[in-house]
Amino acid sequence: MIDSLGAHQSPDGGWPYRPGGSSWTEPTIFALLAGYAQGDDTGRVRALEWLRRLQRPDGGWSPKPGVDESTWVTALAALIPPAGLGEGPHSRAIRWLLDLTPANATLCARFQAWINGAATAEPHAGWPWLPGTAAWATPTAIAVLALDRQNRRRPDPALHSRIQSARDFLLTHRCPDGGWNHGSAKALGIDAVSYPETTGTVLLAVAGLDPNAIGRSIQCAETWWNNCPSSAAASWLMLGLRAVGRAKPGPPAAFQPRTIPDAALQVIASAGDRGLEVFAA
């Protein structure tokens, strides 16, 4: 069990996935976001400095120091308010996201799919975990949240268009039960089932859509809420359901966070509307 986030901040300013490990981008950002949700700025300056040092020349972030490729964690970094991250680093993160097209949604991939008569091309542009690969549910949802926040600050048709395309991607990759798994609604024509954690994450990203479009997703999230298997799943479901007006009183006691990101997420989900604002202000 992770009882205190502050106690696990590394001397370099970042946070590890598990107590005692080295600093990684994802847990550092989740710990920072937990601080924003709680209104607690302990360790924030050092963490932001660590994060700014890690930004790569292309504007993205790698998962940890020493890894030489920018990945989806750039979307997480873009969730940090520009006033904290810095206007320059934040706008370069947004640009990196806008410039990233999943490998199966490029013009070349679509042409190849047409030649092969295959249905592997993707008409809607979500986001991949890693450049050069296909789009999946979680990185797409996090990028939508980041770009949507930016578009509310500074409306931009390019942002709007990409957000819309990504939300279409999420809706077309919804499982028949109404929720989301990693992003594959069928395998060889057989229906796949959703996961609670991804259902909560994506619901948060599509919460502003027409209720008729996401009604069965809300029902699916409610069903998962009553059958929740982990702390992370409960936190994402709390956030997603709060975003559609179905706030839950608190996380189930049965599950304790096992990683720093899970612990941070529980803090965010338990912070009510302030927690929601971290993702969807």
Partner: protein
Amino acid sequence: MKKISRRQMLAGATGSLFLQSCSREAAVKAVNPRLPKPLVSVIRAAAYGQDLYDIVRRILIDHRVNAKGKRVVLKPNLVEFDRNTSINTHPLLVDAALEAFRSIGAADVRIAEGPGHRRDTLDLAEAAGYFDTVPKFEDLFTDLNIDEVSKYTLRQPFSKLSDVYLPNTILGADLVVSMPKMKTHHWVGATLSMKNFFGIMPGAIYGWPKNVLHWSGIPQCIVDLSSIPGRTFAIADGIVGMEGNGPIQGTPKNCGVIVAGRVLEAVDATCSRIMGIDPNKVVYLHAPDRPHYNDEPAITQIGESPRVVRTNFQLIKEFADLRLA
């Protein structure tokens, strides 16, 4: 006259080129007949019971596995939140392996896995029965998805991968024991001890799923990743496997065997034969620069003959032609 679509034409051309390449490589890379044939154990086990502890200990003795003072990592296949399906390697077999390696003097035995779709690995392991079965499981377990990593350069990769970041738990092990569930697989026909190494790719770098492996060529990545650990052993859980649309959506298949050995290709070829799958038609068992053990005489079997325990696993129509004659 029937028209040929551009897809059929291109598929035919590509398939022809691939087959030419395979047959050419296979001819070049025959097993050296002067080398000793690999041993593969096929041991009957009707159910997940206490006899597994003796069975696994006997396997290590039969194969003269030297783990004295070594760091051993057991790598099960842990995929989904359900102890009642046949998706995950059964925790009792993993505990039996843990005890067996301790009994032969291993300095440290850890259990490690990096699930491909689900991030809450420890919760998944708990739901799959690992906490109830393996004493002090959380202390023994490493989530490879969020382990510390080091860069590793693949020498002469068969896939498009070149440099990869891998968990230090795997790179620092003296012996990695692949413990797959014997399952059909909807992309490559069968998932066994070699394919099980997909779980060493850290999700924190590559995501969930580890889609870079699909883009780099699944069969080719199976070959590359399974050749990374210096020393390997395999103990495959074929007591209840999965047939049909595996590795997740298939149905349980009682097979009643444990298959084990040092040479992963030989173990997988044996498992394939037991499942009624022709190993000569499993693409990743045909890799260039790797020895092939796809013909039965190339392997010294211990225990049961694969022919005797053969239990045809149902194959989806896309892989119907893999059926062993």
